[in-house]
């Protein structure tokens, strides 16, 4: 009768046939083993192979030999690597902040006293069902042809050339496309969060004379803390892997000004004969993403708890 407590939260009486058995039903193993095998073969094995080849000078074909940690050492002296990390982080941080502010604002508006809620909600989700690559081509035309033409008509000289054509502004185009696309999903997540807040809280706050801003900072924001955490972590993680947007807008250019880490790994690894070197870059990238995700979760969770 020793019953390991599997889930204290679960309702219902404890000791039963499925729980706390000494005998493990074989069928449960049959259910997971094929998936485990496939996952190991197509995820864990490539991960380990990648780590292995990061210690070699493999070009992607032909002979290779061990070079120890030389690839890693070279990474730190490579301007192209610095460029890619610099751009990717600038892009990812700006996009994460922008998309979360915009999505939260739109979600609050959609949750407010407006008409045609379902219709608007439906429209705002459209970008999420479209291919980023294809939308990116449309935005490419928008940035290269439409915006300069409009700027010319309005006499705004700074925008008469395509923002994608300048190394200093091309990243902004990538941010705009990414925010446009990612906001759709984040709006829906925030909306789901907002609907968990009981309306009585706002009624009580209004009676107490709390201003809308006060209501936002002391009710809305604390109540959707978990949703904010999820959105921040997922957005940053997705933006750090930016690829499709860049292929369709700038192809990494002008020069290498918008070359992201993913694009660099793809190009160097498949086309540049840098298989071993770029897997080293990918391993570094893995550790960076893991470190950032954990730091973010810790900071955001502490913030949640402090309310």
């Amino acid at each position: 009768m020793s019953t390991p407590v599997s889930s204290p939260a679960r309702p219902g009486p404890p000791p039963t046939a499925l729980r706390g058995e000494r005998r493990v039903p074989r069928v449960f193993y049959l259910m997971v083993l094929p998936a485990l095998a496939l996952f190991a073969v197509f995820h864990t094995v490539p991960l380990l192979t990648g780590m292995f080849f990061s210690l070699t000078n493999y070009a992607g074909y032909g002979e290779w030999s061990f070079v120890g940690l030389r690839n890693y050492a070279n990474l730190f002296g490579d301007d192209r690597i610095y460029g890619a990390y610099g751009f990717t982080f600038l892009f990812a941080i700006v996009s994460t902040v922008a998309v979360n502010i915009i999505a939260l604002a739109v979600a609050i508006a959609l949750n407010g006293r407006i008409r045609f809620k379902t219709g608007f909600r439906g429209i705002f989700f459209i970008p999420n069902i479209l291919s980023i690559l294809i939308v990116g081509y449309v935005f490419n035309y928008l940035f290269s042809n439409s915006v300069p033409a409009i700027a010319e008509a309005l006499g705004v000289t700074s925008l008469t050339t395509s923002i994608l054509a300048s190394p200093d502004t091309a990243w902004i185009g990538v941010v705009i496309l990414s925010v446009w696309q990612a906001a759709a999903f984040n709006i829906i997540i925030y909306l789901a969060g907002l609907q968990t807040i009981p309306g009585e809280l706002y009624e009580a706050a209004s009676l107490d004379g709390a201003s809308p801003w006060k209501q936002f900072t002391s009710i809305t924001f604390p109540m959707i803390g978990a949703f904010f955490t999820i959105n921040m972590v997922l957005s940053l993680k997705n933006f750090l892997q930016v690829f499709d947007q860049i292929i369709s807008l700038t192809a990494g250019g002008p020069g290498t000004s918008t070359e992201s880490i993913s694009l660099l790994i793809y190009r160097g690894g498949f086309q540049g004969g840098e298989y071993g070197y770029q897997t080293a870059n990918a391993v570094l990238y893995l550790f960076v993403i893991i470190a950032i995700s954990f730091i973010q979760l810790r900071i955001l969770q502490r913030r949640e708890a402090s309310f």
Binding site: V5, S6, R10, P11, G12, V24, V27, Y29, M31, V32, A35, F39, F42, H43, V45, L47, G50, F53, V106, L110, N111, G112, R113, I114, F120, G122, I123, F124, F125, I126, N128, I129, L130, L133, I134, Y137, V138, L142, N145, S146, A149, I150, W180, I188, I189, G193, Q195, G199, L240, I247, I261, S262, G269, F270, Y275, T279, A282, V283, Y285, L286
Partner: protein
């Protein structure tokens, strides 16, 4: 007493075909007075979503000499041949078939296998092996695709999986991490009593899963199905690196190749964009409420 409480919980678990019940209830108190200023503001924001779509439609209908300027003007005469040209130039029927095949295959295989794995894990979380398995799958959420990209391409080529079948398999396997996470949370909220009753009556665990649990997973299957469908349909990177035979091209990949070859013929290009976007847009038009409630449900788990 147990019976009533369990059936109540079951009702909660099953009778949520869409989150809209919740949505409507949350909206109701607001119906008293409509804030028209806010409505107008939201409408303006919604325009930013629609402008690129509008641009796509009008550009797709123009003749080359009507291009230029801002591109926002309506076409003076519609050139429907753009679509016919795009149809043949991008091998649209073949790309559509490939994408459709990969998407349907991925969604079906994902629903059937991922839910089953999640069930086995959820009901054995107190056992070290299954708990370890759970964290093993979840940990993969933190692994960016580029690190496995280079080796996995070599592997799929060796296995002869550099085709549509390989894509289906890889999407199903890579989806496990996230899907296990949402399925397990959901399955653990389903009370055990039903399964126990069935097992006492002599049903096997397989039967219990397929006849009792899988139907109860309906709402979660919808969520996972929708997200998987959007991913498999729109993904570009995996087809780009995995597929070797041009005849296996999916829609986004075909657009990429097409772009490289005919990058100046904007009208035909935009017609092909519109055709590539259309299938999911049309489905979405009719299933909009269902899609959004499915996504919302996934987020609250």
């Amino acid at each position: 007493m147990t019976a009533t409480s369990s059936s109540a919980v079951r009702r909660v678990a099953t009778d949520r075909p869409d989150g809209d019940d919740v949505v409507e209830r949350a909206y109701r108190p607001d119906r008293r007075r409509v804030n028209w200023w806010l409505t107008a503001l939201v409408a303006v924001c919604a325009l930013t979503v629609l402008i690129p779509l509008y641009l796509t439609v009008v550009t797709a209908l123009k003749t080359p000499d009507q291009l230029g300027g801002t591109g926002f003007g309506l076409p003076t005469t519609a050139r429907w041949e753009n679509f016919a040209d795009a149809w043949t130039l991008t091998s649209f029927p073949r790309a559509l078939l490939n994408t459709g095949l990969v998407t349907v295959g991925t969604v079906l295989l994902t629903l059937v296998t991922n839910s089953m794995v999640a069930y086995a894990i959820a009901r054995n979380m107190h056992r070290r092996f299954f708990k370890g398995l759970y964290f093993y799958f979840i940990a993969a959420l933190f692994v960016p695709f580029p690190i496995i990209m280079l080796p996995v391409v070599k592997q799929t080529a060796i296995f002869g999986l550099d085709n549509q079948l390989g894509l289906i398999l890889l999407y199903t396997v890579y989806g496990l991490s996230f899907n296990i996470f949402v399925y397990v949370a959901y399955i653990r909220s389903i009370p055990l009593e039903l399964e126990e009753a069935a097992l006492t009556d002599g049903a096997t665990t397989w039967t219990v899963f397929w006849r009792i649990i899988f139907p109860l997973l309906g709402p979660m299957n919808a969520t996972v199905g929708i997200l998987t469908c959007l991913w498999a349909w729109n993904d570009f990177m995996l087809p780009l690196v995995i597929l070797s035979d041009p005849s296996a091209q999916t829609l986004p990949l075909a657009q990429f190749i097409f772009q490289g070859q005919f990058n100046t013929n904007y009208s035909v290009a935009f017609a092909s964009y519109l055709m590539a976007m259309a299938p999911l847009l049309i489905v979405y038009l009719f299933a909009q409420r269902w899609v959004i409630s499915g996504v919302m449900r996934g987020s609250s788990k």
